[in-house]
Amino acid sequence: MRATRFPVQARGPAERMAGFMAHLRMNGVQAGPRETEDCLAALASVDAADRATARMALKALLVPDAEGWRRFDALYDAYWFNAGKQRQAEVKADHIRTQSARPSLWHTHMANDAETGTSNEMRPDADDDAADCAADCAAEGTDGRLIATRTENLTRRDLRELMDEDSLRAAERAAERLARALRDRRSRRHRAARRGQAVDMGRTLRASLARGGEPLDLFRKHRPDRPLKIVALCDVSGSMTVYARVFLAFLKGLVSADARTDAYLFHTRLMRMTDTLRDRDSLRAAGRLSLIAEGFAGGTDIAGAIRQFNDSQASRAVDGRTVVVVLSDGYCTSPPDALADALARLSRRARRIVWLNPLKGWRDYAPIARGMAAALPHLDAHLPANTIEALSALEPEFAKL
């Protein structure tokens, strides 16, 4: 977490409050001028001198969701009690760079070097890291610095140099067609239709006025189709490194095609990748991914990751109109019963679970690995996914779901 220096020379509470808002903005909380006004109004209506009261008042106003609720106390202490451990380098920029157009996700990890100096730094947990990227806003520097870091990234992780534009685009196109194949629209909200089940009273009445009060024209409405949405869990452990480039582009295609798609990566823990993948620039997305997913080439705990997904995210992300797609080879370090249990629990929530296995594309593959064998009864489809052609061939399979 980044902390600003508390302005002891400030000219009054308004300026200190503005400093606090800037501190929150640096840490990913949306706090604009309107929020500042509201905070001042709120503090005026309570006893602002009492620390606890002021904290609670600001917490109610500035927190957008449950995760922000947990982080707020730390951010508050860091500013008002100087408890933050990192200091931003004083960048005296007179003109505001138009970096606001780029979402803060994409400021590179400049601070990686600066962070290592402090000893009691609070380490944000995995979800914070992936979703909120609190720590990387020091890129208000010059262009020269940015380029240097990008080259540094290239040599650090070889995942990025495996990605070339053609295979990326091919995988993305396959994913987009797939997402479209699932778009089977059904909703409970009625829409106007020529031949529907219900009579649209509003339109009929309106038209009857033109007919002198006689409802001669009957208008109908029906319920249109409601789309299925996809939640993708992708394995990025050592055994899957070879397929990583294809799968990540595939995920990117899925995520870009539909705003409701959710994507997660896992090896030993689960990380939410949706916002990262949504970035337009493929190379930059890859850079960000390789930085986040440390331990890329380690072992896999598929059961643990799915269990973590069930506990934390599934109630939000998965419902009766969701297809869960797991991309993995099935080699799991935890016992097969655990995997079967986790999948059983997930299958009660989701409409379908589809397992895309790169090994299945090999001739004479049989799921001898006990993990895969234990998982099979809970899957609705077990499909090969080792080449772009195999991914394209998934479309008719998904349409059948």
Binding site: Q30, E35, D38, A41, A42, S45, V46, D47, A52, T53, M56, A57, K59, A60, L61, V63, P64, D65, A66, G68, W69, S187, R188, R189, H190, M201, G202, L205, S208, L209, G213, P215, S315, R316, D319, R345
Partner: protein
């Protein structure tokens, strides 16, 4: 003025609702700044009950809008009484269009009703995450402006701004615009003292030792790995059931106690996770 949030907390506890300090602060700010308050948290912790308690505390009417998928303006805001209009048109040829589209033929749904009250009501919008994004857009406009436009009648402005409480179960991500419009409070499972206070507020006749035992047991059950963790409402149900069964001490009758756990454990897997031996161990520690 400075102590108002404490008086809100006191008023709520008089109405039988034990609110945490942060929640009382959020409610107080929502009244002062006339902004809606969004409550999130696990199921059964008392989000809906807050609105009921607030209505009782401020002696205001409670208007409830239960959201569901497919909820649209005609169910939430207003609808014309088409059948009556048709009858009026048929009954007399002299009925003009203006007469048919008048207040007499307007069916007021919860949101319009909330705006046209004499005294400020409490408007509870329950489970907003079940409604879809299009409905959130309608809602945002009404919450922000406090007025509703009926094309045939014109704009209807709020006579008294309602106190708005939104609850969400977290099944869907709410839109940013709605979140920023509202104050936020996360209600978590209460700690021991708070839960004891809640139990004693709701069941005043309960004996102190039994109450403590119940609270300890429920808190211990919550720490187990269950699919559906029991909330405060379930705890109150169980306490009422125990008093109905005539159990004065949890270690009295283990068999009946195990059977009474239907109030707390709501899935088959959870019932298997707390077999009688585990329950006996938990009760032993609580006694």
């Amino acid at each position: 003025m400075a102590d108002d949030w404490r008086s809100v907390r006191a008023e709520l506890s008089e109405a039988g609702y034990v609110a945490s300090e942060e929640l009382a602060m959020a409610v107080h700010l929502s009244l002062v700044l006339t902004r809606p308050v969004l409550l999130e948290g696990p199921a059964g912790v008392g989000k809906t009950d807050l609105a009921k308690a607030l209505a009782a505390a401020k002696t205001a009417t409670l208007i409830r809008l239960q959201c569901y998928e497919g909820l649209d303006a005609s169910q939430a805001i207003y609808e014309w009484n088409y059948q009556r209009q048709l009858l009026a048109l048929r009954a007399s040829d002299a009925e003009s269009e203006d007469a048919v589209f008048s207040e007499k033929y307007l069916l007021k749904r919860p949101l319009l009703e909330a705006i046209t009250q004499e005294a400020p009501p409490v408007l509870l919008i329950d489970e907003i995450d079940r409604a879809d994004e299009a409905f959130e857009a309608y809602l945002l406009e009404i919450l922000a402006e406090g007025q509703i436009t009926v094309p045939e009648l014109g704009t209807i402005r709020a006579t008294a701004r309602p106190m708005v409480v939104l609850t969400s179960n977290g099944t869907r991500d709410l839109s940013d615009a709605l979140r920023r419009r509202c104050l936020y409070s996360y209600i978590d499972y209460p700690d021991r003292e708070t839960e004891l206070a809640i139990l004693q507020a709701r069941l005043p006749g309960i004996e102190g030792r039994l109450a403590t035992q119940i609270i300890h047991t429920v808190q211990a059950i919550r720490r187990e790995e269950l699919e559906k963790t029991p909330g405060v409402a379930e705890m109150l149900d169980w306490a009422a059931a125990l008093s109905g069964l005539g159990i004065n001490d949890l270690s009295d009758d283990p068999a009946t106690l195990a059977r009474s756990l239907v109030c707390l454990l709501k899935t088959a897997a959870d019932r298997d996770a707390i077999p009688p031996e585990v329950l006996a161990r938990i009760v032993g520690k609580a006694a």
